[in-house]
Symmetry: C2
Subunit: 198 residues, 2 copies
DNA sequence: TCAATTAACATACGGGGCGTATGAGAATGC
DNA sequence: GCATTCTCATACGCCCCGTATGTTAATTGA
C-alpha cells in the first residue's frame, strides 16, 4: 500500500472539513444538506457522523479552522507595522477587511452564533479576541491608550469591526459604505488614545 | 355576534405572533416546530401560512414587534436624562441592559441574523440604530462629541452594546462581567467626547 | 334576499433531511 | 492467523416543512 492508513483517515477528515466549509460558506448552515456535500466529496453521511459526531460538530470544526486562519493573518498584519499603535489600527482594519469575505462572514457572523451560541463561549475560536486583547494590554502598559480592560475592550472592538464588515458587505454601494465605516472606526479607535497628539 | 369579524382575525394574528415569539425566544428558531406552537395557541399551521406566508415571515413579524418595543424603551430612557450627553450614555447602557433579556437576545442577536440576514438590511427593525444615530447627530451639532458619521457611529455602538450584553448574559459570573463590560463601554463612549473635561 | 364569491382557516399529502441502528471490509494486535 | 477494532456505507424511521385541497362563514351585488 502506498499510503498509510492514518493518511487515509486524515484525508477523509480533511475532505469532509473542506466540503462542509464550502457548503456552509456558500449556502449557509441550514440550507446545506449533509447528503449533498458529503456526496460531492465522494463520501457519505456515515463518515461525517463517525468523525464529527453530527452536523453541528462538523460546523464547529470549520469554525475553529477559520478562526485559526484569521488569527494568523491578524498577527501577521500587526507584526509588520512600524509602531505599536499603527499595528493595532492596521490589525483592526485588517479584521474588517477580512470579515468582508462572504464565506467567513456567513460562517462566523451569520450562522455561527445561531448554531453554536454566543461566540464568546466558543472553545477553539477566540483567537482574534485574544490577539486584540494582547495588543490592548501592551498599548496600555506603554501608556499609548487610556486605562481599559483589555479583554472587554477587545470584545467591543471586535464586535464593532464585524458589524462594520457586515454593513459594508451587504450594502448596495460597498465602496461608499466602506469609507464611512472605516473612517468612523478609526475615530473610535482614536478615542482610546491617551494623548491624541502624535 | 358579540365580536366583529375583524376582531377575530386580529386576535388570531396576535395569538400566532405571541405563540411564535414565545417559542422562538425560548427554544430558538430552528428548534421551534410550527405544529407545536400553533397547536398551543389553539390553531394550526394553516392559519400561520395564511397570515404570515411562512415560518420566516412570522419570525420577521416577531422581530419587527420587538424592535419597536426596544426603540420605544430607548427613547423613553434618553428623554429622561438631564443633559444630552448623559441621555446618550444612559440610552446605550439601557440598550446593553435590555439586550440581557434572554428572549430578546435569542431572537434579535442569535437567530435573527441567521434567519433574516444582516440586521442592517432588516426592513422594519432598525429603530434602535436610528435612535442612536439621532442622538449622535444632535450631540455632534452641539459640539459635545467629535466629528463622526452618525449612522456609522450608531452601528458600531450598537454592535458593541449587543456584544457586551451577550458576553454578560452567557458568562458564568454575569455580575462581574457586567461591571467590566459596562465600564469599558463607558470608556469607549468617553473617547467620543470633543472635550474630555466636564 | 339569495346566490356567488372570497376570506379564514383546517386537513391531507408528499418530500427532504437528520439521527441512529446496522452492516461490511480492512487493518491492527496478540 | 484469528479476533477485534476502526472506518465508513447502507438502511430505516421520524419529524418537519411547504403546498394543495377542502370547509365554513362572511361579504358582495343585483
Amino acid at each position: 500500500m502506498r499510503r498509510s492508513r492514518n493518511e487515509m483517515i486524515a484525508e477523509t477528515r480533511a475532505k469532509l472539513l473542506a466540503a462542509g466549509r464550502k457548503a456552509f460558506g456558500a449556502r449557509g448552515y441550514a440550507e446545506s444538506s449533509m447528503d449533498d456535500f458529503t456526496g460531492e466529496a465522494g463520501l457519505t453521511r456515515g463518515a461525517l457522523y463517525h468523525h464529527f459526531g453530527d452536523k453541528k460538530g462538523l460546523f464547529a470544526a470549520v469554525v475553529a479552522e477559520i478562526d485559526s486562519e484569521m488569527t494568523a493573518r491578524l498577527c501577521e498584519i500587526s507584526s509588520m507595522a512600524s509602531t505599536r499603535w499603527q499595528g493595532f489600527v492596521d490589525e483592526n482594519i485588517g479584521y474588517v477587511l477580512m470579515a468582508l469575505e462572504p464565506e467567513l462572514q456567513r460562517i462566523m457572523f451569520r450562522d455561527g452564533p445561531a448554531v453554536l451560541g454566543d461566540p464568546s463561549q466558543w472553545p477553539n475560536a477566540n483567537g482574534c479576541i485574544a490577539a486584540v486583547a494582547q495588543s490592548l494590554e501592551t498599548l496600555k502598559q506603554e501608556g499609548v491608550i487610556v486605562d481599559i480592560d483589555p479583554e472587554a475592550g477587545a470584545r467591543l472592538i471586535n464586535a464593532a469591526s464585524s458589524s462594520a464588515a457586515q454593513w459594508i458587505a451587504n450594502a448596495e454601494n460597498p465602496d461608499a459604505i466602506a469609507k464611512r465605516a472605516v473612517e468612523s472606526f478609526r475615530t473610535f479607535l482614536e478615542g482610546l488614545r491617551a494623548n491624541k497628539v502624535d
